[in-house]
Amino acid sequence: MRIGVLAIQGDVREHLLHVKKAGADAMEVRQLGDLDSVDGLIIPGGESTTIGMLMQEEGLIDVIRRRIRDEEFPVYGTCAGLILLATEVVGKSPARISVMDMVADRNAYGRQVASFEASLQIDGITGKPFPAVFIRAPQVKSIGPLVKPLAYYRGQIVMAEQGSLLASSFHPEMTDDIRVHQYFLDKVRRR
């Protein structure tokens, strides 16, 4: 199994390392051709405006959207990646894949001074609470009927899935814990 990490900008290196630690091959995805050889894709944290715009220019948005619709291509979006997956975004909106039925609010926790770490209980992930890092993180304001919440922080949904799609407001790649990546790899395997 090979997982691609969208390598336009952002926390690419850490996701690649986590995928490898979780037991799959990992490769950078920069251009359309790279998509052909991966079984699933991670969209890392970064600046959603920048990533969305450059994905658009590379033609990646349309192809990823088509693969999700036609073949249930597994995609996991973290932070900026969550925004790119959401069907709706509050306020200024970057170019998006727009496939996951939810409303995302960019930087809803506030500016960098409000960034934080917290431990989360996540559905489907057993053992001790998961150490989650929130950096200028988005919030999920509401979800459609197809979306299943997996984790909450202070009453707010911070991780959810819809079919082959997975999204989290927080960064699971910034600590040594690989359980969220294992969870995504299991999704890819089950497909």
């Binding site: 900008q9 970064g46 770490e117 922080y153």
Partner: protein, 296 residues
């Protein structure tokens, strides 16, 4: 569940990790900030003057007026950074009160303390600092910097110093990696850097925080050059808004930074972008005009 921890080093260095592979642009007005955001900048640096104009104006360069910083923060949704003078912890307190996303303790401004940098551990907002070599970078990290940028020579549009400093840092990292553990304490003394950070560099084979390149990038090829030399991302100061067509230059530098390993794309984005800023030859700079020698 709600054991919320804020202002940890993970959170501070984490924002810099999110900026990797991107371009951070100096801006002096909300309009310029919007141009930068539209071009795909991952963050902007709010300033009163770009380094080339600071050089031209002479006199003492200070933190930007809070009104400028606030108006830029209101204009864009990407992170906003702002510069404080080296050692001027009150300017830094002011910038923290404004809730800028990152503070640059910068040699571009006139230093306020010729002995000590700001104790950056005292702040919730993360800091980026300049460095010309590994020792300088690690001293700044020891003071609490969560991001490093190699200094280059700001406001010159001449990439030679940026290249020199990045090569220097990388050569010294290779040296640390190749040095036996027993010799590390001596190397730490030689580099005037804390031993624990030297050990960390050896373990990682890189700096423990993100390292961008700054000070002289004035064309898409310059940006791709610094990326190929191993920079995590690019700061462009005067290079955008001192060029003849800032919109196009900004966009081209962003694309060249993304596709730094693809000369065909760098060639394509370099057409029709107008003229780069004129630039300065290093030998024309007087010693007192060299910003990189401040705060080492």
């Amino acid at each position: 569940m709600a054991d919320k921890k804020q202002a940890t080093f993970t959170v501070k260095s984490g924002l810099a990790e999110m900026l990797k592979g991107g371009v951070i642009m100096d801006v002096t007005t909300p309009e310029q900030a919007v141009i930068a955001e539209h071009a795909g900048a991952v963050a902007v640096m709010a300033l009163e003057r770009v380094p080339a104009d600071i050089r031209a104006a002479g006199g003492v360069a200070r933190m930007a007026n809070p009104r400028i910083v606030k108006s830029i923060m209101e204009a864009v949704s990407i992170p906003v950074m702002a510069k404080t003078r080296i050692g001027h912890f009150v300017e830094a307190q002011v910038l923290e009160a404004l809730e800028v996303d990152y503070i640059d303790e910068s040699e571009v401004l006139t230093p306020a303390d010729d002995q000590y940098h700001i104790d950056k551990w005292n702040f919730s907002v993360p800091f980026v600092c300049g460095a010309r070599d590994l020792g300088e970078a690690l001293r700044r990290i020891a003071e609490g910097a969560a991001m490093i940028r190699t200094k280059g020579e700001p406001g010159t549009g001449n990439v030679v110093e940026a290249v020199r400093h990045l090569r220097q840092v990388n050569a010294q990292i290779r040296h640390v990696v190749a040095t036996p553990d027993v010799e590390l304490p001596d190397l730490a003394k030689e580099l005037r850097a804390p031993l624990d950070l030297i050990r960390r560099v050896k373990e990682l084979g890189r700096l423990p925080v993100v390292n961008f390149s700054a000070g002289g990038v004035a064309s898409p090829s310059d940006a791709a050059l610094m990326m190929q030399l191993g920079a995590d991302g690019i700061f462009v100061g005067s290079g955008i808004f001192k060029s003849s067509n800032p919109e196009k230059m900004a966009r081209a530098v962003v694309r060249a930074t993304l596709h730094y390993n693809d000369p065909k794309i760098v060639a394509e984005v370099s057409e029709d972008i107008g003229e780069s800023m004129p630039g300065l030859e290093m030998s024309t700079l007087l010693p007192q005009d060299r910003m990189q020698d401040r705060g080492i």
